[in-house]
């Protein structure tokens, strides 16, 4: 499992393809929204959190798909399956590499977004990394599973969002609410946060259990 993770990182260092494209895409999405909304609207914490997550979900979706397409180039995924590695571990490796790359991207994009929107930096923002990480974990778990399905069908660009977005609804609502509360300086560790964590736990376990059915041919 660490071997796969090591290889993914090495591959990324070599090509710099995923992080850079993710980063630019996330920024572009935010920019489009900034142009579409009025300055007063942008100052509201609710908009800020919605924007962060819209950018993360759409850029992340492409990033996750990209990771698996990369793996398919010389049918390397088959090579991976030949190895004496449990499919559950393959899932964890892919999942962790997705979490890692999204975190790296978000570490830059999130502060940048807050600055662009003119939201005040305050002590309450210290919780933001944790919330973002929780969202990324759930998103990557479900995303890795769905992308593994989508990548081997025709029209994979369409089928991935089609599958992923409705399933992500709870994560999305919860994450936006928690982040919104956090940006507004309110209490954010309430029910919504629990929904977010529950989503993470459930889909990491589900992904781990069902990945075997998805990857074998």
């Amino acid at each position: 499992m660490w071997a796969i993770l090591w290889k993914d990182l090495l591959l990324e260092l070599r090509t710099k393809e995923r992080v850079s494209s993710l980063f630019v895409l996330a920024l572009l999405i935010i920019l489009v929204f900034v142009f579409a909304l009025t300055p007063e609207q942008l100052k509201q914490p609710a908009f800020g959190s919605a924007l962060l997550w819209v950018a993360l979900v759409f850029a992340g979706m492409l990033g996750i798909q990209r990771a698996l397409i990369l793996e398919q180039e010389r049918n390397c995924f088959t090579g991976l399956l030949l190895c004496p590695i449990d499919p559950g571990q393959v899932f964890f490796a892919k999942f962790l590499s997705n979490v890692f790359f999204l975190t790296v991207v978000e570490a830059v994009v999130a502060p940048l977004t807050l600055a662009l929107l003119g939201l005040p930096f305050s002590v309450s923002l210290l919780g933001l990394p944790l919330v973002l990480l929780c969202g990324i974990v759930g998103f990557s778990a479900l995303g890795t599973l769905c992308a593994a399905i989508a990548v081997r069908t025709r029209a994979r660009e369409i089928i991935l969002p089609l599958m992923l977005l409705p399933l992500l609804v709870p994560l999305f609502i919860a994450a936006v609410h928690v982040t919104g509360a956090l940006l507004a300086g309110e209490v954010w560790t309430g029910t919504w946060f629990r929904v977010l964590v529950a989503f993470d736990v459930i889909f990491v376990v589900i992904g781990w259990l069902t990945f075997g059915f998805v990857v074998q041919e």
Binding site: L11, T15, R74, C76, L82, C83, I85, Q216
Partner: protein, 254 residues
């Protein structure tokens, strides 16, 4: 339980009469069936292969050769039937560590160098003394001077040789080759033949698919002919001569 012991006893008896002594069959396939798109691709495949055999699987395109090999490599699971390698299920991790597979594609990451590619696969297979082993393998396929160049810039022949190094990196006891003689350049072929000869010496088992009997015959100790997903013919203790084989082949695949 008793049935199983009986079966192994029987197996051992027949084995001792035919072959040199050993404990278990390397490959034991019993009534294997595989469907794809709900269409049977392989039906009723049963055979046993002992250690140190080199088995050629022959047949026209679409006969199910590749599917059979992929079943053995645990890339596919049989729809029904029993398949054991080294006495346990083909999907078990310990078994997979003993299997090497060379397919049509190289399974190499184009943006990584040969060294990195092999390091990745070596780690995945938990190869001991990985660095030494990689150096040895790269030298074996004549790529030691190219070890830091990304595979993307390789010629097809070089990539195939590296792929061979990848498949043999963990010194598999069962080596599966899918159409090794199509699309290989002469140098790769000679390296491949050297590797196969070496494997034969070390009492490793080899299974390869081919539709070119003449070129493969000297390597094989046994042959199967697949036709429309069934075993149409299996060789006896000795292989037939090339002419006889051609006649057999045309008779079977008519």
């Amino acid at each position: 339980m008793t049935q199983q012991t009986q079966r192994t006893q029987q197996a051992q008896q027949t084995q001792e009469t035919q072959q040199t002594k050993m404990n278990t069959w390397v490959v034991e396939a019993h009534n294997l069936h595989k469907t794809f798109a709900w269409t049977p691709v392989l039906s009723d495949i049963s055979f046993r292969i002992a250690s140190a055999e080199v088995v050629g699987i022959f047949g026209p395109n679409g006969a199910g050769k590749t599917t059979l090999l992929r079943l053995l490599a645990a890339l596919l699971t049989p729809t029904s039937g029993r398949l054991t390698l080294f006495g346990s299920a083909s999907s078990e991790l310990a078994v997979r560590r003993k299997v090497g597979f060379l397919g049509h594609e190289s399974y190499l990451y184009p943006d990584l160098t040969p060294e990195e590619n092999l390091t990745f696969y070596g780690k995945a297979y938990r190869v001991p003394d990985l660095k030494g082993r990689i150096a040895q393998q790269l030298e074996h396929v004549g790529l030691q001077d190219w070890r830091t160049m990304p595979v993307r810039y390789f010629s097809r022949g070089m990539e195939q040789r590296l792929s061979l190094a990848r498949a043999l990196l963990h010194a598999p006891d069962l080596f599966l080759l899918d159409e090794p003689d199509t699309g290989l350049d002469p140098r790769a072929v000679s390296i491949l033949h050297a590797s196969l000869a070496e494997a034969k010496e070390q009492a490793k088992t080899v299974m390869l698919t081919s539709h070119d009997f003449e070129r493969t015959r000297e390597l094989c100790t046994r042959a199967l002919i697949l036709h429309r997903g069934r075993i149409a013919w299996q060789s006896e203790a000795t292989l037939p001569s090339p002419q006889e084989f051609v006649e057999l082949y045309t008779a079977c695949t008519r």
